[in-house]
């Protein structure tokens, strides 16, 4: 029972704090206008380069919107504790670490999903993309898998808060790299081989593959392997994130560095 209380209460409070204590004016420019115009920008860039159709870029950037939301959300969810000097209190509690951090991941995943859905709906309407409505279920599954994988990567980034003053540097750089390396805006076949190989181990790549296959009329069964791979990548990062958090927590206790700024 206490596990569930920590999971839900902790997660919800942390999510509310992300918006600097409930300021809706931050949500609109950051999570609606920014990803929408990013989508439109890359749609036109794609048209200028004549590389892929609008659907490619609308799906790519909707997923990136979810990824960035999850990366920053999860990262800041942990880093914010240090900033507001509540990290030592949090870590002194006997609460399950899995409940603590999984609780922070769930609202971030839901948020990323909603942001991606808004970006997709508005972006598709603006540039005239239509997708068969039977594909939406599969797209939602692929998106949910990507949101989980990105939140897991965000947890790895968040764990760095024990060692560095600001994790925004990492979240921003990695969020930017996802635009390029995952094939969100450049077809993977156009990237160098080393980047294509690297992309297989990065969240989004497999989710995007699945989503594009579904949007092109492919059956859900054909996209299942990619969705499975995306979930596996996410599970891998989630495990690494938990291990990093545990390691840095122990190290922080030994060094007495939780409150060092």
């Amino acid at each position: 029972m206490n596990w569930l209380r920590v999971f839900f209460h902790g997660g919800l409070t942390s999510y509310r704090a992300l918006f600097a204590w409930l300021n809706p004016w931050i949500f609109l420019p950051m999570l609606v206008v920014y990803p929408l115009f990013q989508t439109v920008f890359f749609v036109y860039l794609g048209q200028a380069a004549n590389v892929a159709d609008n659907t490619f870029f609308v799906i790519g950037n909707s997923f990136v919107a979810a990824a960035v939301t999850a990366l920053f959300g999860m990262g800041q969810g942990i880093a914010g504790e240090r900033r507001f000097q509540t990290l030592p209190i949090l870590l002194a509690s006997p609460a399950s670490r899995l409940a603590l951090f999984l609780g922070r991941a769930v609202p971030t995943i839901v948020n990323g999903f909603i942001v991606a859905a808004i970006t997709f709906a508005l972006g598709a309407a603006l540039v005239g993309v239509t997708i068969d409505r039977y594909a939406y279920g599969g797209l939602a599954v692929a998106l949910a898998a990507s949101c989980f994988a990105c939140a897991a990567l965000g947890m790895c980034i968040g764990s760095l808060t024990f060692r560095t003053r600001s994790i925004s540097v990492f979240a921003d750089a990695i969020g930017g790299a996802l635009l390029l390396v995952t094939g969100a805006n450049v077809p993977l076949g156009r990237l160098p081989t080393i980047m294509q190989e690297l992309a297989r181990y990065i969240p989004l790549t497999h989710g995007l593959d699945a989503a594009r296959a579904l949007a092109n009329g492919g059956p859900l069964s054909a996209a299942v392997p990619q969705i499975r791979d995306e979930l596996l990548v996410g599970l891998g990062y989630f495990a690494i994130g938990l291990l990093l958090l545990r390691y840095f927590e122990r190290d922080g206790r030994r060094a007495g560095s939780f409150e060092r700024f």
């Binding site: 600097a20 300021n23 004016w25 931050i26 609109l28 420019p29 950051m30 206008v33 920014y34 115009f37 990013q38 439109v40 920008f41 890359f42 036109y44 860039l45 794609g46 048209q47 200028a48 380069a49 590389v51 600001s166 925004s168 540097v169 921003d172 750089a173 930017g176 790299a177 635009l179 390029l180 805006n185 450049v186 156009r190 990237l191």
Partner: protein, 254 residues
């Protein structure tokens, strides 16, 4: 006033040079934008086209640094409790805010160097500038104009901490409307007149013309003309929003 302006420039540039976030962001983002452009256009395309894309990516970073970086710089002043002191200083607010904007734009030179170096060493794109003097002047004019365009938005940043997030949202619309990386010819026609009043449009064109050996003076002139116009718009905006911020006592709210 000159001392305040010069000191403001120096202090903000020093802060930028010691900010890991700004240094890393200005290193990573131009590389990402330029690389996406190169891979989409095709790395085997005409090197002149790729070089133009590099300049577009650099100009994008200059605008982003002004509109996002300076917004967060003002937020930082708010968090540290120094924004009230800056606003209360016995000098016009513009002499305090303008250096932050112009220093942010000047930091974009780092982005320009990164982009050109990345293009040269990673993709073999030659750095070929036919009129170096005009190119340097174009960079200076672009910094001034983009910094002062940011000052109009900065008046909003003074009013409320939430406003600085507006800067994040204003990045891509200006990239699009200025024809940076995406040619204006393929965009809706109504964006044309909007592009004329945006400094990045003329800064970008000035850089391209100077690099290509064409006359860049009309574009540099437009940058200077727009700079003057932005000051005329920003002054009343700053005064108005400063008064509002004082009335609502929002300067300290962090």
């Amino acid at each position: 006033m000159t001392r305040v302006f010069a000191n403001g420039l120096r202090v903000h540039l020093l802060q930028l040079l010691r900010s890991p976030f700004d240094i890393v962001a200005m290193l990573v983002w131009p590389i990402i934008f330029a690389s996406i452009a190169y891979y989409l256009i095709g790395t085997d395309a005409n090197t002149r086209v790729l070089f133009t894309a590099s300049l577009g990516a650099a100009m994008m970073m200059m605008w982003s640094q002004v509109i996002v970086g300076s917004g967060f710089a003002l937020d930082q002043q708010r968090n540290q409790g120094t924004l009230e002191l800056l606003v209360a200083a016995p000098v016009p607010l513009v002499t305090v805010i303008a250096p932050i904007m112009i220093a942010s734009a000047a930091f974009g030179i780092y982005g320009l160097v990164v982009t050109l170096a990345w293009g040269r060493f990673a993709f073999g794109i030659p750095i070929s500038i036919d009129q170096p003097a005009a190119f340097v002047l174009a960079v200076v004019a672009a910094i001034l104009a983009i910094g002062l365009l940011g000052m109009i938005a900065a008046s909003l940043f003074v009013l409320s901490r939430a406003a600085s997030y507006l800067g994040v949202a204003l990045q891509y619309p200006v990239y699009l409307a200025s024809g940076l990386l995406v040619p204006l010819a393929i965009l809706p026609a109504w964006l044309g007149p909007i592009s004329w009043i945006l400094a990045p449009t003329w800064g970008y064109r000035a850089l391209i013309h100077a690099a290509d050996g064409q006359s860049a003076w009309p574009q540099i002139g437009m940058c200077l003309l727009l700079s003057a116009a932005y000051v005329l718009v920003a002054l009343p905006c700053l005064a108005w929003f400063e008064r509002l911020a004082r009335e609502r006592a929002t300067l300290r709210l962090s």
